[in-house]
């Protein structure tokens, strides 16, 4: 696949896939094309050459949209009117049930399950804008979980998040992969929170520079978890 802005290539010869139950981490220095790749994956940009298939369909024409869960980078939700964790997570169920249809008991159970899986059940009735950054991020992850997706795409989900929330985040992804056999594509600079559960690491800088397991990356002298600064420093060197 290839994509560029004003003839300047941002992505060239990029080819990658995520299988069911696989946890793939996509890393790269600033300006490496990670965000562009995500936008192409979500259907808001079209590749100049090549194609993208999600469950066999073009992202724009994916009928079962609920199968693709998305957690945006630092979601900016409007907070003029208070909205509780329960209300935010419930909206995650709309794509599964149909945006015009009333929710049923199994939808409410899925919402409760998603909230429990990120450890936010004591805060269900709290307005989201009164929570810490880490708790808010967990609420947005639960919103993505609520549709019980087959592929979860996360954009820098643990940036600036406290250690407790990072641990909860890692546990909830393990739960999603183990219980629902979902694939996970995580875009991040910082992988120490998920170092133990990542199956594959893809390093992107316009092209795919590395595609392998964390132990293969270790042979390059880069660890994900032991020295948490290794990866960002190495990526910076690439930039």
């Amino acid at each position: 696949m290839r994509f560029g802005y004003d003839r300047e290539p941002v992505l060239e010869d990029v080819s990658l896939g995520v299988s069911a139950g696989e946890f793939v981490a996509l890393v790269g220095p600033n300006g490496s094309g990670k965000s562009t790749l995500l936008r192409i994956l979500l259907g808001s940009l079209k590749p100049e050459r090549g194609s993208v298939r999600i469950f066999g369909a073009d992202p724009d024409h994916l009928d079962e949209r609920w199968r693709l869960g998305y957690v945006p980078q630092r979601p900016t939700i409007a907070s003029e009117v208070p909205a509780t964790v329960q209300e935010i997570v419930t909206s995650g169920r709309l794509s599964r049930r149909g945006w015009w249809r009333p929710l049923r008991r199994e939808d409410r159970e899925a919402v409760d399950h998603a909230i429990r899986s990120v450890g936010l059940e004591p805060l269900t009735a709290r307005p989201v804008n009164t929570l810490s950054g880490g708790q808010q991020q967990r609420a947005f992850i639960a919103r993505a979980f609520a549709s019980e997706p087959d592929l979860l795409v996360l954009d820098e989900p643990v940036a600036g998040v406290d250690a407790e929330s990072q641990r909860r985040f890692s546990d909830s992804l393990t739960h999603l992969i183990d219980e629902h056999a979902a694939g996970v594509l995580l875009v991040s600079h910082e992988l120490s929170a998920v170092a133990g559960i990542v199956d594959r690491v893809i390093v992107l800088k316009r092209r795919v520079l590395f595609d392998g397991t964390p132990s293969e990356l270790m042979r390059e002298g880069v660890s994900l978890g032991i020295h948490r600064d290794d990866l960002p420093l190495w990526l910076e060197g690439l930039g």
Binding site: L42, S44, L62, R65, W66, L68, Y70, P72, P75, T76, I77, A78, E80, V81, P82, A83, T84, Q86, E87, I88, T90, S91, G92, L94, S95, W99, W100, P102, L103, A125, R126, P127, T130, F140, R143, S147
Partner: protein, 281 residues
Amino acid sequence: MTAATISFPFQADFMQRALVAGLAVGVFAPMIGIFLVQKRLSLIGDGIGHVAFAGVGAGLLLSVSPIWVALAFAVVGALGVDWLRARRRVAGDVALALFFYSGIALGVVFASLAGGLNANILTYLFGQPLTVTRSEIVVTLRLGAVIAITMWVLRRSLFAVVTDEEWSRAAGLPVNGLNSLLAVLTAVAVVAAMRIVGILLVAAMMVLPVASGQLLARSFRGTLIASVCVGVGSVVAGLTASWFWDLAPSGAIVLAAACVFAVVSLVKRTAPRSLRQEEHA
């Protein structure tokens, strides 16, 4: 008939008609308003009201029912504002101003061609619930029912779109369609309420009850219920005040809503610190 001879304000027929039409506005205006406030489009009702005024003028000029011509103008204007805002052809406030001033100017020109700015047109500008007819009440109730039922059925989808548009697009919700629907329903609400509170004050009934509701509640659903209660209470209080003190009823209704907001803000501000901390615990 004076306040001295009848102590209960809603015994007179015209007061009962005003109450029925006013209560409908008190329910459906905040139901729309909560989504406009969340989208930071609190003043869009005002802009659409000005476009509706052009429709009132055109209706009077053509000797056609002003309500239906106003509805057509308001719906087209609402979709135009939404189109400009969504495509960012011009800044949101400039888009509103464009429709705002063109609408009122067109309304003045049409009204002058129809015979001048008479008392009839002033009832649309400032509202006059005491002279509302049975057929106008039926129109208000029918339009209000369409708004209330649509908002209730689509409340979760509209909540998702106005709260996080980027995520809603990624989740496959029809964001453009729901935004357009909200704009059209806002236009319907403006027209349905214009005989009661007037084109110039209709936006106040969409926004002020929600401003109080968001201080009283801790959830979107709670804010919706509190806003409708404040809207209905403001109508009853405003009409009662207008009966006893001979005030303009539309102004009294909106002032009642503003007073509720002032009292709720004051109480929240002066509540003991321990109580406020408890709320956030």
